[in-house]
């Protein structure tokens, strides 16, 4: 990772969280700290020493250390800018957002305000610069066609056909926020086919208003942008 941490930091942080568990996860689950399986020795995470005997507070300290690390301010600011501005957001914007993050102790409202008031956010280049993800494409198509959903499973399947099987991403990072992930022939054809099926009322579980659903509109290049 680019966050400036090592494998040692990973194992030390894991030691801090030993004993954190969930009670009856199948029934909703509540947090529980099991002291008996907690590693109570001294730990060092990102250069900060956590003294022995801290119990549950070890994990809480890790959260504080990570939240106040400058790499976190940059990481979260860049994620937000990638989501709302451009795949490769201007570094100057990310820097200003990270600065706000640090100054306000991680107030995301303030970070968003910095972004929304920036000239970069309102620039011509940022307008519709992103390709919708499959989930965004399917959801926006159903909304644009005034679709009424009886059961959503077939629609979720469609999202998978377009390349984003929900909750099935192998890596813990989740699906990419970059348009490149979605811009390929198979994905484009799947979008066009979905548009045709939806407009013809052939997607089970959802009924659209034919007057408001033009397959060509929903499958058009413009509709894929956001």
């Amino acid at each position: 990772m680019d966050g400036g941490y090592t494998q040692k930091d990973v194992t030390e942080a894991a030691r801090c969280f030993t004993g954190w568990t969930i009670l009856q996860p199948q029934r909703g689950g509540t947090f529980s700290f099991n002291k008996r399986v907690h590693d109570d020795g001294e730990k060092t995470v990102l250069g900060v020493t956590i003294p022995a005997g801290g119990g549950q507070s070890d994990g809480e300290k890790v959260l504080d250390i990570v939240a106040r690390n400058p790499a976190t301010a940059r990481f979260i600011s860049k994620k937000l800018a990638m989501r709302f501005v451009a795949d490769e957001p201007p570094a100057t914007l990310v820097d200003r957002m990270a600065e706000t993050f640090k100054k306000t102790d991680g107030d995301l409202r303030a970070v968003m305000k910095t972004m929304l008031e920036s000239k970069e956010f309102w620039s011509q280049g940022a307008y519709q610069s992103k390709l919708k993800s499959p989930l965004e494409m399917v959801a926006s198509a159903v909304r644009a066609a005034s679709g009424e959903i009886d059961y959503a499973f077939p629609l979720a399947n469609q999202v998978g056909q377009l390349g984003q099987p929900l909750y099935r991403k192998q890596e813990p990072t989740g699906y990419s926020n970059s348009s490149k992930e979605w811009l390929n022939s198979g994905g484009l054809l799947a979008r066009m086919n979905f548009a045709v099926q939806l407009a013809d009322n052939k997607v089970p579980g959802v009924k659209v208003n034919p007057a408001q659903s033009a397959a060509l509109g929903l499958g058009s290049p413009e509709f894929q942008k956001r």
Partner: protein
Amino acid sequence: MPTRRFFLRNSALAMVGAGTTPLWLERALYASDAPSQRKKILVAIFQRGAADGLNVVVPHGDPAYYKLRPNISIPRPTADPAKAADAAIDLDGFFGLNPALSPLKPLFDQKHLAIVDAVGSPDPTRSHFDAQDYMESGTPGLKATQDGWMNRALPRATGKVSPVRAVSLGPVLPRAMRGPSPAIAMQTIDSFQVRNAEASKQFEQMYMGAKDPVIQAAGRDTFEAVALLQSIQKQQYTPASGASYPRGRFGQSLQQIAQLIKSNVGVEMAFADIGGWDHHVNEVGARPSVGVLANLLGEYGQALSAFWTDMGDRMSDVVVVTMSEFGRTAKENGNRGTDHGHANSMFVMGGDVKGGKVYGKWPGLEKEQLYEGRDLALTTDFRDVLGELVTSHLGNPSPKNVFPGYDPKFLGLV
């Protein structure tokens, strides 16, 4: 009103004689190129999730392997028929195949399958995401690389270029194939069309006229490939020589790749992946021949073997290479599984491959021989394997451009 493209398509035959063949038609005609023009083909397979190389290619000659894995090791090869199904299949007296890979043993014996061991990416990351990213970009440690090694490896096009020159089976184009050279992703050959002829024509017009140049280029690639694949879609495909692909996405992917190659539509590079290798828990079941690893390896081995059978003589043009982002810990964990490690193994299969041998230097599994005291150390860089295939098989003269900042050392695999 008929569009210009519509007009061209309908007067295609007339155009051939006139010598002013439009580019898309030239590309479509690639399909009928003479067999002497057959190009070499590279098929890359990614095992996502970090396969446990030590239980795939078992170092049964190293006693440390059995000490580190008291519960989930694969037993030494045996002549006892009652126990053979749960023991490693010997390759060379030191290494053995997991018994679930028995379909691949004949290929090894016929010297068409080579194995490289203690191979991988030198980057120390144990993050699946980063390691896959590095292996697919071909630049370990460098996040900024925009394109993938397969895209850079495509030999410079001379004349006609097929729109399905580089093809990936799956819903998204993998990182390895992204880049300036056109490459396409498809779930199946059949689904690669707009299932409404009228809408297809109109969409084609819209995408060709799209204002965004990136979407326009993607649209152009798409509809050129659609036109080319139309003829294949009409044919019923039966694998040759009784080849039997396993159920599931991976077997289907390899079957589609075989069909594309045999249809002579100009495939030079293909990609497929198979996930589910992240076996932290219960990797091996009650016996070595059962459990999640055995099941997955069974599917994997049967698919590769079926591909070999189905392709027949055509394998003289093809090399299949497999990789996984990193290996797994040498020592088993407390849950009958293994955690994220370092070096792994790679398979190289093809008609012209110098197989029947396990390549690479074995670093040993004693504590002081392990990488960071826990993982199989790396003695061969994955770029040595891929670089050799790109150069000696595909004929790309500059592996250094495919793997920037690295000078691949060839092992003599092809």
